[in-house]
Every structure is written in structure tokens, then in C-alpha cells.
Amino acid sequence: MSSVSTPTLDAIDLSDREFWGAPPEQRHAVFDLLRRESPFAFFAEPVVPYIPVGPGYHAVTRYADVEAISCQPALFASGSGAVSIADMPPDLNEFYGSLISMDDPRHGKIRRIVAKAFTPRVLEGLVGNVQAVVDDVVARARQRAADGDGTIDVVADLAAPIPLRVICDMMGIPDGDRAMVLHQSNVILSGGDPELVEDEELMVTAFLKAGEVLAGLMTRLAVERRARPTDDLTTALVTTEVDGERLTSQEIASFFILLLVAGNETTRNAISQGVLALSEHPAERDRWAADPGITRTAVEEVVRWTSPITWMRRTATQDVELSGQEFPAGSKFLLFYGAANRDPAVFADPHRFDLTRDPNPHVGFGSRGPHFCLGAHLARREIGVAFQAFARELPDLEVCGEPARLQSSFVNGLKRLPARLTGLR
């Protein structure tokens, strides 16, 4: 932490890709400054090849403003794009954003259909599944370390396979298609990271191709499930009706992409960065290992601390006012959840990682409003089961190298995190 240089307002550019690969302490120092001095700081938009550059955006960093925007969806809309800074062509936007980039009444209709598959009670039936997946993943990771040089990659061997296998089980994705699903969802959420999208010029093409491949898989599965229904989520999606309406093939395909991508990347990054946070805070790690009873608050703190989705965008539908400031219709706002989650006005000692923090009204799953994370229960369950298993089965896990950070402003992610199992020698 001592190496963090003091940022100055003029030097801050949130559209600079380099900034997003910087260590979290450095980024938080910047957000602390913005929150204090310039809570609606304005930035020019990053350039995306072949997409017209828009007017720029305001970076919202205060908890209260993030909440005010989220809970007024009629004034601050998602329909012109919630997951990209630039206005993407409408068909692209809808295809990749699905529910996320949609407003009422359509959003409400589709959300009600899919919400049925995500109730806590339905997910209750998945506990055994999540536990079995986690146990198997952990056992394989230990085996891999034992067979090799005693090391594992926390991302590839623990954090990635857990949510991938859970979401693929839920959706009934055949084993043979799963590696492809992981790769394509990585591409879609890479934010153009050079390691995943080799040529920035081809970024949009790469996204499109990834979406096409995933949609192809969904179309194939939808046909199979209509002919032979099972108890998986895909069957629910192709058969559920609300007010006599079913989802169209296009809606199903784009929701499928949303689930795969959102269900994989977010939980994965919460888990990998949770492991990193625990290794940096050994007293907290010991506390959780000694008392599984704190799991409920510990999971919330992991989500607050890691804030895997960095922002969602909203666009003003008319002239609006926020904290006494006025903004014209069409203004774009990026809601920086990680910044709101460190707002001292809401969180005492916000840069302290405290597994028993309570209350912890973090916005890691989004703030109050219709777009609150659909998979929050599933994510909580996965994270809770995973960390309890790590404490039990991998007590000797030790991070042994620097994390490789994803250079994406949208996803706060790790590409790799080397660790060793010290009990193996």
C-alpha cells in the first residue's frame, strides 16, 4: 500500500485501459479522490473501432448517487446500453445485454419469466449440486498440484470451474461443449484485453463471433428440449409462459448468453479475488476457517471487497438533477459499484476487509432497482460453499506469485493467480 502515489484530478483518465490493470489500491485511491472532489467527473469515451465515439460520460462514485440513479429507472434508462460506454447498434446491444440493457415494460415481462427459475426455493434444490461440484473441483485441484510441482492456478483450477459447472448443470449444457462456453464467455467479457482479443481492430468482430457460437449452441439445445423436456433451466426458458406469452428464440438466445457470461465471470472473479484478499488478510482467513458461522456476512464482504462488475451505465431520459447538480437529457452515467462500496458515508473504515461487517448494504449485486442481480442467491451460495470447502480441504493453500489482472474497466477480474499447496512436499 505504501507504494501508492497520490493521484491528482487532472491526471485521472478512467477511459485509459492501463488504469484498469493497475493494482486495486491504486484504483481505490483514485476513486476516493473522485468521490471527495468530483463525484460526477466527466470523461471522454474510449475509442472502439467502427463504433462512433459518443459525447462522454459521468463517473458516479458516491453511494447515494448510485442508489438514486438505480432506483429511478424511468429517469435513468438502460435501453440505450448498460454494458458499454458507446451506444452500440441496437440489435447488438439487445443481443449482448439482454435483460440488462432493457427497460420496462419488456424488461419486467422477461424478468418475471426467468425469475421463476431463480427463486431461493428452486435454488435450494441445487445446494447438493453446488456442494458436489465444489468438492470435485477442490479434489481435482489438489490432485493436479500433487501430480505436478505442487502449484495450482487459483483462477483456472478453482475459481473458473465452479461457476462454469454449476451454470452449465443448471442449463443442461453437454460436457463436450463446456470448454467452448468458457472460452467464448471470456472473449465477450474481455473488454478487449489483448490476451483474449489479439487484434483490437477486430474486437467487435470477435464479440460477434463469440455470441454467434453461443447462440448456435442455444438454438440446438432449445430444439432438443422442446422435443424432450427435462428439469433444467433451458427447458423452463423454452416452455414458461407469462400472460400467455413465451420468450422468442432471439430472447432465449440472448438470455442464454447473459446467463453464461454473467454466471461465469462474476462469481469466478469474486472467488479468485476473495482467495487473494484472504491471503492478504491472514487473520480474517483464520477467523473464517475457525468459525463457519460467519459465512453469511463473510460472503457479503467478499462481494463488497471485490465488486466483480465495476460499473453499469444509465442514460438520462430527460433533464435530471442529482445531489443539486443538473444534467441534460442524454447524459451518460457510469455507476462505479466498487467506488460506492468504499464510500465512507455508508461503510465505516471502508478499506478494511472485515468478514463480520454487519450491516453491509453493498451494491456488488447492483443497487436498489429493477436490475438488481438475478443470480445473487446463486452467487452467494457458490461463494459460501466454495470458501468453506477451501478452508476445510485446502488449508495449506498459499498464494505464491503476483496476480495477472484483466485490463477491463467493466469486469474487475484476474486472469491468473499462482498458488502452492504447502502440505504436499
Binding site: C71, G108, R111, R112, A115, K116, F118, T119, P120, R121, V242, F365, G366, S367, R368, G369, P370, F372, C373, L374, A376, H377
Partner: protein
């Protein structure tokens, strides 16, 4: 007696209430919570506060 009122138009079926207080809230087939009386104020207050869409209201 305290009652909980659910605004079905606002509810998005996030199910946070059911997670906070499963003995009181049970999501129906539309994903909207049914409220099981009697309501223990201490138990439901957290759930009402936690509702992401503000669809729950306490009424005396």
C-alpha cells in the same frame, strides 16, 4: 397488527425477502412473495429494507 403489503407491479421476483425470512415470505409461481401471517416485526424489517425494488411495505 403489523402487515406486509407486496406491490405486485413493482416486485421483480428477486426473492431477497424469501432469503431473509423464509418463514414469512414464499414466492409463488409468478415469483411474487406470498406473506404468511402472523408477521414477526423483527424478522420482516430486515427483509423489507433489503428488497431491491422497494416492493414491500409495512402497515400497522
Amino acid at each position: 397488527m403489523t402487515r406486509v403489503v407486496v406491490d405486485r407491479e413493482v416486485c421483480m421476483g428477486a426473492g431477497v425477502c424469501e432469503m431473509e425470512a423464509p418463514e414469512v415470505f414464499e414466492l409463488d409461481a409468478d415469483g411474487v412473495p406470498q406473506v404468511h401471517e402472523p408477521v414477526d416485526l423483527a424478522v420482516v424489517e430486515t427483509a423489507v429494507r433489503a428488497c431491491p425494488t422497494g416492493a414491500l411495505q409495512l402497515m400497522d
